[in-house]
């Protein structure tokens, strides 16, 4: 067996062992054992991914493992990329779980939660490794069900957890059903094996291809959390325990992207222009809507969840434009856009895992996710604060963060569009504008998250009494931060692997070169030195600080300006709400916030105000406009359906008879 296969099987076996260990070990040891084994699963996944990316493809038939269909695993370079990503996140999450779940054996450390976690990781690894339609669907459903169980971990403590679980269950299963129909249709037309599908995809009728694509797009976009199929995402990510949020946001939603690339580019071998335009449009909408909601969110994890929507949007923009360029014949740019999308999946996995783990650390210490009640954590939790700030730098897509590199590549692919055809001439500049706006609001969002959540003074006793998280959590976060740093300064180390993947997707190799420290677009003068840029920023900042101290005016210590009156209190600080207020005003029409101002007057005089209460809620508008009517309609339909079952035996017999006759007739006519 080649290294890829060995590593993958090891990973799956370790995951199974961890699941059993969670059932066997006592509470005091459970988190430690399971965490270590999950980290082992992850590192085997990384190993498998790295082996696959270096050219060791692997496939295996396991005919007895599943009834009727059998299982088939096939790992190529595209699978390898996602195995690497999932494995890396799982390593960090495994180590983090040791401290996060703790020895108490409750909540995240409970037996069901800890035994589901390795199964979830195993399912995540199984999806990209699947080599046939039934295996893929098995992995997909296993992933959905285990993550559902993990989201529900704290369902006894908060009513919102139950509501989030119901939303997630409904949406993920609806998505699964569309993928199921789509892929089964594809399997019926072209065979269950991915190799068979690839071979016959060329002769499939366009109608079948279109139907399969649309069905898969709906399911995969729902899993990826793309707008307008996103309402589960802010709920599930916010209510799940943080190590699960990290796995879901960093790894699971990426599998939606994997599904789209696998089905759209690989299995169906590309398609007409409107497929890719639809993907790009969904991407643009997700990016804008996601970041707007993130900018005004006051719940730290909800903010991160909406930011996931935004980043998925950017990735989908890349995927969409890769397809679009391919159709238009600009094959080099298609490869570049795809490379940018793939690199952004990895970058986003890095910084979002770090941010969710950091948020988990803050939430565990303070018991609240509300940015308006946090603050002042930088004194009490310096390590967490530094690590969250590092993640925020990546997420804000500013150099020297890692998010910048992939967004830069994406922008390059859009800016160098060949100008052929009206569609591209309109779509590419629009996409550039969307990315620019997204990046701008993204900076404000992360300044808000770190500034109001971690800096300044604590606003509540819970934040004031926070203590730093246990070393295992910090170590896990440091590992992710280091990975992000490597991706930020040496993104070129991923380029050979990306080149191999892109070449395997019926595209040419991306037109990138420039050695280890520079990225250059072949044929253009555009060039970017991530390492030197990062070094320059550090050196210049250091130099300015040293020179200012050496040659500047003498320092004078003075109290912070408090308007000459009394000491400053935390009531005078910017809260997350007040910081986002100007942005919210700008996007008032798009966000449509609900405000309530209640003025209570004195009994004696209407001119004397006793109290003013101000309440503001920023609802998810797409949810209100689209999902609430849908839910009401389903409810009405359900109520109307009761009329069919009035409890009269004759009616039921008549139904059975009619059904029998219908089935017989259908058989005869056929």
């Amino acid at each position: 067996m080649n290294p890829t296969g060995t590593a993958l099987i090891t990973a799956l076996l370790l995951a199974a062992t961890a699941a059993l260990a969670a059932l066997v070990f006592p509470a005091a040891w459970r988190a430690r054992v399971v965490g270590t084994l999950v980290a082992g699963t992850g590192s085997s996944g990384v190993w498998a991914g790295a082996a696959a990316l270096s050219g060791h493809g692997w496939d295996a038939d396991l005919p007895r493992l599943l009834p009727l269909a059998g299982m088939r695993l096939a790992v190529d370079s595209l699978s390898g990329w996602f195995l690497l990503l999932i494995g890396a996140v799982a390593v960090a999450v495994g180590v983090y779980t040791i401290g996060y779940a703790g020895p108490g054996g409750r909540g995240a450390g409970s037996r069901p939660s800890l035994s589901l976690l390795p199964v979830f990781v195993g399912a995540l690894l199984l999806v990209p490794a699947a080599g046939s339609v039934p295996t893929f669907l098995l992995g997909w459903e296993l992933m959905a069900v285990t993550s559902l169980g993990l989201v529900a971990t704290e369902h006894r403590h908060h009513a919102q957890v139950r509501s989030a679980t119901v939303w997630y269950a409904a949406m993920t299963q609806a998505g699964f059903v569309t993928v199921l129909i789509g892929l089964t249709w594809l399997a019926a037309a072209a065979g269950t094996d991915f190799t068979a599908v690839r071979a016959t995809a060329g002769v499939l009728s366009p109608a079948v291809k279109n139907a399969v694509f649309v069905l898969c797009l709906v399911g995969f976009a729902a899993k990826a959390g793309a707008v307008p199929l996103h309402p589960w995402l802010p709920r599930a990510h916010a209510e799940a325990p943080s190590h699960v949020s990290a796995l879901m946001s960093a790894a699971m939603v990426k599998l939606g992207v994997y599904g789209l690339v696998r089905v759209g580019f690989d299995l169906l071998g590309g398609g007409p222009r409107w497929w890719w335009l639809t993907i790009a449009a969904i991407g643009a909408l997700s990016a804008l809507y996601g970041i707007m909601q993130a900018a005004v969110a006051t719940d730290l994890k909800r903010l991160l969840a909406f930011s996931t929507s935004e980043n998925i949007g950017l990735i989908l923009l890349g995927v969409g434009f890769a397809g679009l360029y391919n159709v238009e014949g600009a094959r080099g740019l298609a490869a570049l856009a795809m490379a940018a999308a793939l690199l952004h999946t990895l970058n986003h996995a890095g910084f979002k895992a770090l941010l969710f783990l950091g948020a988990g650390s803050a939430v565990k210490a303070t018991g609240t996710r509300d940015l308006d009640q946090l603050g002042g954590l930088s004194r009490r939790m310096p390590a967490t604060t530094m690590l969250v700030a590092a993640g925020a730098l990546g997420a804000a897509a500013l150099p020297p963060g890692n998010g910048f590199v992939s967004e830069w590549l994406l922008l390059q692919s859009l800016l160098h569009q060949p100008g052929a055809g009206a569609v591209l001439a309109i779509a590419a500049p629009t996409a550039v504008a969307v990315i620019a706006l997204t990046a701008g609001i993204g900076v404000a969002t992360y300044v808000k998250a770190v500034g109001t959540g971690f800096l300044a003074r604590p606003r509540r006793a819970a934040a004031a009494g926070a203590t730093e998280s246990p070393p295992s959590m910090i170590v896990a976060m440091i590992a992710v931060a280091l990975a992000c740093a490597v991706l930020a300064v040496l993104p070129t180390i991923t380029l050979p692997a990306i080149g191999r993947i892109v070449a395997s997707l019926h595209l040419v190799s991306p037109p990138l070169d420039g050695g280890l420290t520079a990225i250059q677009l072949s044929g253009y003068t555009t060039r970017f030195w991530p390492l030197w840029l990062a070094a320059a920023i550090v050196v210049v900042t250091g130099l300015v600080a040293v020179l200012a101290r050496r040659f500047g005016r003498a320092r004078r210590r003075a109290v912070a300006w408090d308007c000459g009156d009394g000491p400053l209190t935390s009531r005078m600080e910017y809260t997350a709400t007040s910081f986002a207020e100007p942005l919210q005003r700008v996007f008032d029409d798009a966000l449509a916030p609900e405000r309530d101002v209640d003025v209570t007057h004195h009994e004696e005089s209407a001119y004397h105000v006793q109290a003013i209460a101000y309440r503001q809620r920023i609802p998810d508008r797409i949810e209100n406009r689209f999902y609430q009517p849908l839910l009401r309609a389903v409810e009405r339909l359900g109520l109307a359906g009761r009329g069919l079952a009035p409890g009269v035996m004759h009616r039921y017999l008549a139904y059975m008879l009619t059904a029998l006759i219908a089935v017989l007739l259908a058989g005869v006519i056929r």
Binding site: R553, A558, W561, D562, G564
Partner: protein, 158 residues
């Protein structure tokens, strides 16, 4: 058209530029741009009205490079009016301490110099110079806007 007609009918409302008070030493460090923070240390608000006039469109001190700012952190010059009351002494000190250097203090009006009619009154601590070092006085009860502008113009040197 209504606006144009009114402009033609009213003619020029602004006073012509006040000549610089030559006696005031030009604050060379400020480079022609003077940011002013004002503190009312217990004044009857007569001086405030005149200060307001100095910055109004009629006298328009801003054309000489002088601006009122909202925080002592941004200010080069502190204008203080009134006798310093007990309650305002500490905020005045803090405001002065909060200003970056170089900084100048201008006491506006007679009360700021010697407490005027409030001298010895209940709650009056003393003149401004007893609380913080004063660089310039503008005399008058209240001083006319022209006097204020002349001094500020002298400071900015423009």
């Amino acid at each position: 058209m209504g606006l144009l007609r009114r402009i033609l009918k009213n003619g020029r409302a602004a006073e012509s530029a006040v000549p610089t008070d030559r006696a005031v030493p030009k604050a060379g460090d400020l480079g022609g741009s003077v940011q002013v923070r004002h503190v009312d240390a217990g004044s009857c608000n007569g001086c405030e009205i005149e200060l307001g006039q100095a910055f109004s469109p009629v006298y328009d001190a801003e054309r000489h490079g002088v601006r009122l700012v909202a925080s002592p952190r941004h200010a080069d010059v502190l204008t203080v009016t009134g006798p310093v009351t007990v309650n305002m002494a500490e905020p005045l000190r803090k405001t002065h301490a909060a200003m970056p250097e170089p900084r100048l203090v201008v006491a506006v009006g007679d009360c700021a110099r010697d407490c005027g009619v409030f001298a010895g009154g209940h709650g009056v601590l003393g003149p401004v110079a007893d609380v913080i070092p004063v660089d310039l006085h503008i005399a008058g009860c209240p001083p006319r806007p022209e006097q204020i502008v002349a001094v500020l113009r002298g400071l900015s040197g423009r």
